[in-house]
Amino acid sequence: MSKLSKAAPWAGLLPFMIYLVVFLLAPTITVVVGAFQEDGRFSLVNVNELFSSTLLTVLWKSVLLSGVSAIVGAVLGAFLSYLIVTRPATSVVRRVVTAAAGVLAQFGGLSLAFAFIATLGFSGIVTKAVSSSLGLDIYGNGWIYALPGLTLVYTYFQIPLMVIVFLPALDGVRPQWREAAVSLGASTWQYWRQVAAPLLTPAFLGALLLLFANAFAAYATAAILVSQGQPITPLFIRAALNSEVMLGRQNLAFALAFEMVIVVSIVMAAYALLLRRASRWLR
């Protein structure tokens, strides 16, 4: 086969490749390059500023928000998955939960933000109900519009995502393992501790990492709930782009975006490794 005809089939992929290069790779490269530039020249000024105490605090808050919502979402989501995995696939509860998880996980950040404004905002339904029946003001200083509120809101999204990602792993735990363990003398606790938990740990950790990356990269919900200030990295990027507080700090935005890419890439790489282990055991 001549070289040309060998290469020809690959030409069929060109439209797709070119599209990705233009709309995905070019922006990413712009960000990476731009992080190391200032005033059109190579400079480490912006990257250095990433290590300033302000920006490190902001990064830390992002990590905290993502981590807490991921852990809470993972634990609760795993528990909910466990509750329905023992039901047969046709049971009503299982189908309802799976469908609901599918829909809620598509719940865009925008709708999510307004859902919680309607619930716990200043004139939110729950706020009013609690204040009129128990006389408590749960709105306070508007905690929902700051980090604690964001954590709660993110969890609403993380739990369905966890169900979607973790349920297949739980399904992969074969009943023969439990029966074999039991016939060999294991109590329920021993089975969980020595067989099920070690088997599910890679899948659980992988799902946890996915939830973390998901929360870390999220923008819309935070952008709507938090209108003043920039407590977390994505909002700092918004500020840098819109030049509210800073003038012409475009390159700082690049640096911050670069930081985000690094964090998410590391997390997703670890996720991919854990996924491979989990799928080998839980096929």
Binding site: Q176, A180, V182, S183, L184, L199, W281
Partner: protein
Amino acid sequence: MTTAPEASSTGVGVSLVDLRRTYGTLNALDGLSLEMAPGEMVVLLGPSGCGKTTALRILAGLDRADAGEVRVGDKEMTHVPANKRDMGMVFQAYSLFPHMTVRDNVAFGLRLRGQDKGKRLKRADDMLELVGLAKFANRFAHQLSGGQQQRVALARALAIEPAVLLLDEPLSALDAKVRVQLRDEIRRVQLDVGTTTLFVTHDQEEALAVADRVGVMNAGRLDQIAPPTELYARPATRFVAEFVGLSNRLAADVSGGGATLLGTRVPLLDGSVESGAGHALVRPEALAVAADGETNARVVSVAFLGPISRVQCRLDDDQIVIAQVASAVAAHLVQDQPVRVDVSADAVLVVPD
């Protein structure tokens, strides 16, 4: 491979008394009673849905009977939870823990019993030696073939020195050749260790090859339980006669304690029709085909199977029979050749039309 074991010190007797189990409208077990002698290998044989796996799982404690008793040794086990029954179980497939090495899998039951590490790993290695997989101790389940995995599962079940060994269709998921090798292996190990064993299968050749006694189950009941040779030669019911081995159905006339078929008079097996017309169930090897003398049939086809051949003949009264003959004899037969088919059975079961 079916010699009865000597009285064994490790085996205990097992009694299943009148077990009943229904799932909704499905009657899985309809009064099953079974006694197993210490050290004996009993095979429960039957088609899918006959209740054999249900019986095994009730004995294991993984399922609970609606009525009836389970006794092991002299202990009443009916309500004892599965993890306290001291039984070793081998499943059809997928039962090895994928995150543990082979050695750790085998040692698992001992670890649960609190044995210290050195002892239990040594015992695990001994068991792996017994099944011929000592070199695979550090591998993982996904690195082993199906047959190897089942041998590890066997080693794991025996490591805890169970009172009873339970095998739930352990060979059904394996290739044909591996199946034959492994069933001999299982029998060898079982005789060696002397554990009372209940083996469930739908493959009648497997059952006949390894069992001390075979129990044929049909719709939740035990049709017959007997040593393999007796089961084959003297089936108690039509179901047993047709499920185990091949059977020809030949028109026969019964009177005075015997059946007349193909011009020959043959004694009756218990359970036969007492008098009148019926069909006799005759094994292919009980039919002889000769090319000389008075003929009563024509050859339809000859299937060469190596040492023996199966000759299909159409009798003069239009019945079709299959006779099993030595290939040397069949070699001379051609299609449409007139032949004489004779029956030479010790006894036959005659069923109503």
